[in-house]
């Protein structure tokens, strides 16, 4: 029997400062999964790491590893942190609760911005990375495939995704609160990632005088900028462009801040104290928070923008309700499907073990009764089989029925069955020794 475990933290449980320290970017996700495979070779794992959450899903046998505490220690250790540092912010979920959480995440019901579609892509990406790293196995493959399907279903069958505010649109709204016109303004974008693209798309709609993309890869910057009729510049010229930019969008994958307080203090003087709007959507943050304390500098990070989105979005209670209903139905369906899948081999093992015992006992009885005809032998063997079938018929029927019962309890039955009849795969491998022990007792 498999157990699904989830440990993670998100925007509700951990502040940005903690999340950015535990965030896994690009190759770091793959590195974590490779390390996981080495350390817990019999378990499956998928890592979902976005700007709002870091969640590690694992599946293992009931008595296997990793345990929850091991998962927390492993996750923290991968980012050079101690378990104690992240533990206060971590939530733990198991089995059905973990499935429900994943489905809610994929359906964007757990997002700061209800109905945002980006999370679905991020869940899909997390699954793809795990599939590549071969850490998604027989349990996590179907689970994540189902989660992605649930996310899609919610987006197509409900109005959750309609009329929502995005981080980009909120950023533009804030820019409008600072500047009256944009025809004489310069927008600078640092980094050329997906998120930067999204935000830049909105700012390009304001028709700024100049649009500059600054990136370490100049060719990429030029390609990126060309989409918005802007210019690409190398990263070395960042300070020069900061002095002329009115709106700065920063979204790089840099591990440390690229715009420091000391650096921007000089920039502010060069700008002759003209107001500047800084949007830091990177994680870890690209701009030191102290920069926002400078005169005429308005700094917004991803949490600030998301907070606004979350508080100002219209109450779409009906859509949320409908989405939750879909998630609940899908969780029940998945649980039932999973239990059926777990139940089949277990019932098989139960029958096999019982028939093996019956056959062995019948054979011993036949040996003690010499002179039995073939027909009598067959009758005795048949008797043993029929007793086993009759004995197991009712319990197995009840077990199967529990799968469709609204009260559930199948997992408990399966676990009890496994324990009572010693049906765990490694235990059924040597039934003879156990049976002999039982007989001697």
């Amino acid at each position: 029997m498999h157990r699904l475990l989830l440990v993670g933290l998100n925007h509700k449980t951990a502040p940005l400062a903690v999340r950015e320290r535990l965030a896994f970017a690009g190759n770091q996700k793959r590195e974590l999964l490779d390390a996981f495979r080495v350390r817990f070779s019999n378990a499956e794992a998928v890592l979902v790491s976005t700007c709002n959450r870091v969640e590690l899903y694992t599946a293992r046998t009931v008595h296997g590893h990793p345990r929850v505490e091991e998962m927390i220690g492993f996750l923290a250790g991968q980012r050079g942190l101690t378990a104690e540092e992240v533990e206060p912010h971590v939530y733990r979920k198991t089995d059905r609760e973990a499935v429900a959480h994943l489905f809610s995440v994929a359906a964007s019901l757990d997002s700061m911005v209800l109905g945002e579609t980006q999370i679905l892509g991020q869940v899909r990406e997390a699954y793809d990375v795990a599939a590549e790293a071969a850490t998604a196995g027989t349990f996590l493959h179907p689970l994540f495939q189902r989660a992605i399907a649930v996310g899609k279903q919610v987006m197509t069958e409900t109005t959750l995704g309609e009329g929502r505010l995005s981080i980009a649109s909120v950023a533009v709204e804030y820019a409008r609160r600072i500047y009256d016109t944009f025809g004489d303004k310069t927008v600078l974008c640092i980094g050329a990632g997906e998120m930067a693209h999204l935000v830049l798309q909105h700012f390009a709609g304001l028709r700024p005088k100049t649009l500059v993309v600054c990136n370490r890869d100049v060719e990429k910057a030029a390609r990126f900028a060309a989409e918005f009729s802007g210019v690409g510049v190398p990263f070395e010229r960042l300070a020069e462009y900061l002095a002329v930019a009115d709106v700065v969008i920063s979204s790089t994958g840099a591990p440390h801040a690229i715009i420091t307080h000391a650096m921007f203090e000089q920039v502010v003087k060069q700008r002759r104290y003209r107001p500047v709007f800084l949007i830091d959507i990177a994680l870890p943050r690209d701009i030191e928070p102290e920069v926002g304390e400078l005169e005429n500098v308005y700094l917004y990070n991803i949490d600030d923008l998301q907070d606004v989105v979350a508080t100002t979005q219209t109450q779409r209670a009906g859509a949320v309700e409908a989405a939750r209903k879909i998630v609940e139905e899908q969780v029940s369906e998945f649980a039932a499907w999973h239990q059926t899948r777990e139940m089949g081999p277990l019932i098989d093992r139960l029958y096999q073990r019982s028939h093996r015992l019956a056959a062995s006992e019948t054979s011993r009885a036949i040996n003690k009764l010499p002179g039995l005809s073939e027909a009598e032998r067959a009758t005795l063997e048949d008797l043993g089989r029929r007793i086993v079938n009759k004995l197991l018929h009712n319990p197995v029927n009840v077990l199967r029925a529990s799968n469709h019962s609204p009260h559930g309890g199948t997992a408990a039955y399966l676990h009890a069955l496994e324990k009572l009849f010693k049906l765990a795969e490694r235990e059924t491998a040597e039934p003879k020794d156990q049976d002999e022990q039982a007989e001697s007792q």
Binding site: D180, E295, Y298
Partner: protein, 268 residues
């Protein structure tokens, strides 16, 4: 002196403007078209009533509106109110009326109070031209500086809300508010400068003892606005600092006006 009926009409105008302001502020909680129309209606009606008071008062005395302190104050208030209405019609600036209309109400109330307890007529234009130029320019300056102060207050609030990352913009952009402050201060500064010069000329002409407090306060306000006007040259002053100075300058101007009313011979 204004008649009781004129004062009642003036009071009615104040009530209408106050109700209009409250209805307009109520839109913060419930932004409905009906509220917007009601607020606008009240304000137009209030200003029309105030304008009617001036016309009635002038017609009764067969004089132009700026011939006594009662009419002058009502005229200033109407001018300020019309400016707000004009801006809101041509290029709306959310929240402008919340800051300027209280000044309008204050001026109308002051007109009512002074018209009743301390009514006095001004010297005719032909007899004292310098005094007339002085009055028109300083009063005009006060009106324009009131707009600058309103812009400054709005800027400070808007900037604070932006720093605190509060949603829901209440006013226009910081850039527009800063432009409004600078334009108002530039115009007001020119008017105040003329007002100060003509004031000095009149003092020298009549060989009068200068009222020290009025001179000091007026000059201080002039200096503050001169500093604000330096923003393009000294960018350190831009933004919040310029907004604070525009409010400080207006407070000094109001102080000067109050002092003029209180000091002996100030009402000359």
């Amino acid at each position: 002196m204004p008649t009781n009926a004129q004062l009642i009409l003036l009071g009615f105008s104040v009530v209408l403007l106050a109700v209009g302001g409250c209805v307009s502020a109520a839109r913060l909680w419930r932004d409905r078209e009906s509220l917007r129309v009601a607020a606008k209606g009240c304000m137009y009606a209030g200003l029309t009533a105030a304008l009617a008071v001036i016309l009635w008062h002038s017609e009764q005395r067969r004089q132009c509106p700026l011939n006594d302190n009662f009419a002058a104050l009502v005229f200033l208030a109407v001018l300020l109110g019309l400016f707000v209405m004009y801006v809101q019609r041509v290029r709306p600036l959310a929240g402008l009326d919340w800051f300027v209309m209280p000044i309008v109400i204050l001026l109308l109330t002051a007109a009512g109070v002074f018209g009743r307890v301390d009514y006095h007529q001004y010297q005719p234009l032909v007899k004292d031209t310098w005094l007339w130029v002085h009055r028109v320019t300083t009063y005009g300056g006060v009106v324009v500086f009131a707009v600058a102060a309103a812009g400054g207050t709005m800027y400070l609030i808007a900037s604070r809300r932006l720093r605190r990352k509060m949603p829901m913009p209440l006013f226009g952009s910081l850039e527009r508010l800063e432009q409004m402050i600078m334009h108002s201060v530039t115009l007001g500064f020119a008017l105040l400068t003329v007002g100060l010069i003509t004031g000095f000329i009149r003092l020298f002409e009549r060989d009068e003892r200068p009222p020290t407090a009025k001179l000091v306060m007026g000059s201080l306000a002039w200096l503050v606005y001169a500093v604000v006007l330096h923003v393009p040259l000294s960018p350190r002053l831009r933004g919040r600092r310029a907004a604070v100075l525009s409010v400080v300058g207006f407070v000094l101007l109001i102080g000067t006006i109050v002092m003029v009313q209180l000091m002996p011979g100030g009402k000359r």
